[in-house]
């Protein structure tokens, strides 16, 4: 990696023949601003990844955590207080040195609820978060609080700061690779709105030209980024093409170098662009959600009966580029077990027997699907048919907007099953189990709660030894599989097309990246 960044480098001289440039299509509406701390969508984080550098990152070769801006990240004995020391000599793209104060102040700004920045939620684990986010009565505007700083965040010296969490959390070091935690320099912090379209980062690329509303984003290599993992490209253009099929056609016409394969082309991309495609191992996991609030589904045996009645192989083939799920976490996670689920092999006889032991299921079973998804209804009917044929249930289907389904579920008014999926923010099986299965977890789709599982998760969070922590999280996964609030369905790969000019980086651990492509 380090050896290759010296070759053919024309450091911003533009259209020199040695210049390595690529055009990456983003199938989304153009961004309106670049501010990693106020961004949690995939297009925004993708751009942030090019312009900002995280504290730590996952080594694409080994899957181990590697320091980037951080020199060391050290937990105390209980994993509750974490000390982060920065490398000396790093600067922002405006030349200002990158200091611990930049992190502390940027994070405090984000944690302030009245700023309404999207990564506010990340800091809910930090001591003092509640003081900056007092409960607001319905309809009231949150006011800036008198307290402006997180009591858990302390600057120790120019390059060192510490984070005290509310409770011990052994995975906190992993969460620091999230790009949404990138620092903003002082001039941006003073007036973030003025820098919406001229961000100042600390990463490998900077804006190459003025960026106005609706424009593509043109980036040029910034020599101040010292690595590790310096991308090869000298220039990158991100082109926003909201219609994914149009973006795909732009690739076929040779106008972009890298594009995501849209769901409509999953069956045809290998013939459309032979030898120019790559796939990732997984992009998270997908489930069928059984509402925990509905007494009709209370019996775990009934849930297991549903699970046994689903032919996952057939379903994964229908979805395309997918593998049957064998547990609740994605297969590229450390701690994934391909025999975790005992109720995921398709067995109609066993399913019927379990249903009988559970006392049957009365009334029609409703399956909700998202009408704004092209495949929502097809998938719902496929699952419905399996449950109907293998368990003799009466099944009906209801199509609604995704946001309406979520809203109904939140207020316990949703009738029956629905689909959901989850992809991790940081590579730890904990980032599957906590959000979806902990009582009041951020993404607890089924609104499931089991104190035993919460206790095991807490033990894992307090366990400083990574191997032992994984064992504890696996115990939590086992409990969740016995209760089965979510039925594992499939894990899906993502496919991408790339021009002959570039070879995207494909990693078992962090997926496919055009930013770190090598040039042929």
């Amino acid at each position: 990696m380090l050896a290759s960044c010296g070759d053919g480098k024309s450091s911003g001289s533009g259209s020199g023949s040695g210049s390595k440039s690529e055009v990456i299509a983003i199938a989304a509406d153009p961004l309106e601003y670049i501010n990693p701390l106020n961004e949690n969508g995939s297009p925004g984080i993708q751009i942030a990844m090019a312009m900002f550098a995280p504290l730590v990152t996952t080594d694409p070769e080994t899957g181990k955590l590697q320091n980037v801006m951080a020199d060391s990240v050290t937990p105390d004995k209980t994993s509750q207080t974490w000390t982060i020391k920065l490398k000396a000599g790093n600067t922002f793209q405006n030349g200002q040195p990158l200091t611990a104060k930049d992190y502390v102040d940027s994070w405090n700004m984000t944690a302030m609820g009245s700023n309404a920045w999207k990564n506010n939620g990340f800091f809910s684990k930090v001591d003092g978060y509640d003081a900056l986010n007092p409960p607001t009565p319905d309809g009231a505007t949150p006011k800036p609080t008198a307290v402006k700083t997180l009591s858990g965040l302390k600057q120790i010296d120019d390059l060192t700061f510490s984070v005290k969490l509310k409770v011990p959390f052994s995975q906190f070091g992993l969460t620091l690779q999230y790009l949404g935690l990138a620092p903003l320099p002082e001039e941006v912090r003073k007036n973030p709105d003025a820098y919406k379209r001229k961000p100042i980062g600390n990463g490998p690329f900077k804006l190459a030209a003025d960026w106005n509303a609706g424009d593509d984003i043109k980036l040029a290599k910034w020599d101040g980024y010292k690595g590790p993992l310096v991308p090869q490209a000298d220039e990158i253009t991100y082109r926003f093409i909201a219609n994914a099929d149009t973006a795909y056609n732009e690739f076929l016409a040779g106008n972009v170098d890298f594009v995501d394969v849209p769901s409509t082309k999953v069956k045809s991309f290998k013939t459309d662009a032979p030898d120019q495609w790559v796939t990732s191992i997984s992009s998270g996991a997908n489930y069928l959600v059984i509402p925990a609030w509905d007494p009709r589904f209370k019996n775990p045996k009934l849930r297991h009966a549903f699970s046994e009645a689903i032919d996952r192989k057939a379903f994964a083939d229908l979805v395309g580029l997918s593998e049957p799920a064998k547990g609740l976490v994605a297969p590229d996670m450390a701690g994934y077990r391909d025999n975790a689920c005992k109720y995921c092999d398709f067995d109609a006889t066993k399913a019927k027997q379990l249903l009988q032991e559970a006392g049957g299921f009365s009334g029609p079973l409703n399956i909700n699907y998202n009408t704004s998804s092209a495949t929502g209804q097809i998938f719902a009917e496929a699952i419905g048919n399996m449950l109907r044929q293998n368990l003799g249930l009466t099944v009906k289907y209801t199509g609604k907007q995704g946001s309406e389904i979520t809203e109904l579920a939140d207020s316990h008014k949703l009738d029956g099953l629905r689909f959901s999926g989850w992809g991790h923010d940081y590579p730890s099986i904990e980032d599957y189990l906590t959000p979806m299965f902990k009582s009041n977890g951020d993404a607890n789709f089924a609104q499931y709660a089991n104190p035993a599982l919460d206790a095991v998760l807490a033990k894992g969070d307090a366990e400083p030894d990574p191997e032992k922590a994984i064992k504890l999280y696996q115990q939590a996964e086992d409990i969740a599989l016995e209760d089965m609030p979510l039925i594992p369905l499939y894990t899906k790969s993502n496919a991408y097309l790339h021009s002959a000019k570039i070879e995207p980086r494909v990693s078992k651990f962090v997926g496919v990246s055009a930013l770190w492509a090598t040039f042929n």
């Binding site: 920045w117 999207k118 309809g139 949150p142 609706g214 732009e250 076929l252």
Partner: protein
């Protein structure tokens, strides 16, 4: 004439209120929380949600939200979209895009429509007339979505005659292909209407009278037949043009043209009542203006309905 225009403008005000109120009510009645739609699958902290809800008045009752939106529109304080875009900036960027596409598409449609319509009208049951009927049926049966993608693939990807999408190559190159497809899909209807209208007019008494008076064929055609035959066509063209100013949602999406149609689509997707109402108001105003123009044009073509 001034009085006529003023009368029309005044009559438009209550209609405008009804239209915007209706559209706003429709958006308001759409299921789902707009901010959740914006956030996707990721959870949003309560404080952030509350701040955003307050910023966009989402907790206010329906009529208050409507009045606040109208106030913003009338005072020109458009504010920002949920996604953080400055709405005034967006309009500045998007209105020209939609205008260029609409005018070019209509130019194609009118040229083809008038040419084939007049020709078929005078050479009834000739091969042009018959092919036109067939073409009408075929073109009406082709869904726009299919035609747009097919044209994009054939002329953009395979033959490379036109850019695949986007406005990077400017006007007119970036707009030619979508305009041609809209024009070709739309001209047949116009041509059929004109043909029928001409057929009816050709046999009208006043045309026979004109011929009987010994007027030349050219004069009969240009002074007597066409002005009368064009009346229903003008109405059709006007409605068509006004409709297109609302933005061609599907075309703009497939050809990645950042016009009003895409803006409208995003706004509806996110349930952004304010933006939807603003765009509807714009569409409504252009509709009223074009209709007014047509009524004035009617007077020019037909003295009997002249509004003085």
């Amino acid at each position: 004439m001034i009085r006529f225009i003023l009368r029309r403008a005044l009559a438009a005000v209550p209609i405008g209120v009804l239209v915007t109120l209706g559209v706003f009510a429709l958006v308001f009645a759409m299921p789902g929380d707009p901010l959740r739609e914006l956030a996707g699958d990721k959870p949003i902290p309560a404080a952030v949600l509350a701040a955003k809800r307050a910023q966009y008045h989402l907790d206010d009752p329906f009529i208050v939200q409507y009045l606040l939106s109208m106030k913003d529109i009338l005072t020109g304080h458009f504010g920002t979209t949920f996604a953080g875009a400055d709405i005034a900036d967006q309009l500045r960027l998007r209105i020209p895009v939609t205008l260029k596409l609409t005018l070019l598409a209509n130019a194609v449609q009118w040229t083809l429509g008038l040419f084939f319509g007049i020709y078929a009208g005078f050479k009834r049951n000739g091969w042009v007339d018959r092919s036109l009927l067939l073409a009408t049926l075929v073109l009406l049966a082709v869904p726009g979505l299919v035609a747009y993608f097919a044209a994009q693939y054939l002329f953009g990807v395979e033959l490379k005659w036109f850019p695949v999408s986007g406005v990077l190559e400017g006007f007119p190159r970036s707009y030619l292909l979508p305009a041609l497809v809209i024009g070709v899909l739309g001209f047949a209807g116009l041509a059929r209407l004109l043909r029928t209208s001409i057929v009816e007019t050709v046999n009208a008494d006043f045309v026979k009278t004109a011929r009987a008076k010994g007027l030349g064929e050219q004069r009969v055609l240009w002074r007597h037949i066409l002005p009368n035959a064009l009346l229903p066509v003008v109405t059709f063209i006007g409605l068509d043009l006004a409709g297109m100013f609302g933005g061609a949602i599907i075309t703009e999406s497939i050809f990645n043209l950042p016009g009003l149609g895409q803006f409208m689509f995003q706004a509806i997707k996110l349930k952004e009542g304010g933006v939807v109402v603003l765009l509807s108001t714009l569409a409504f105003i252009s509709f009223i203006l074009i209709n007014l123009l047509i009524d004035l044009l009617y007077g020019v073509l037909d003295p009997r309905v002249r509004n003085v």
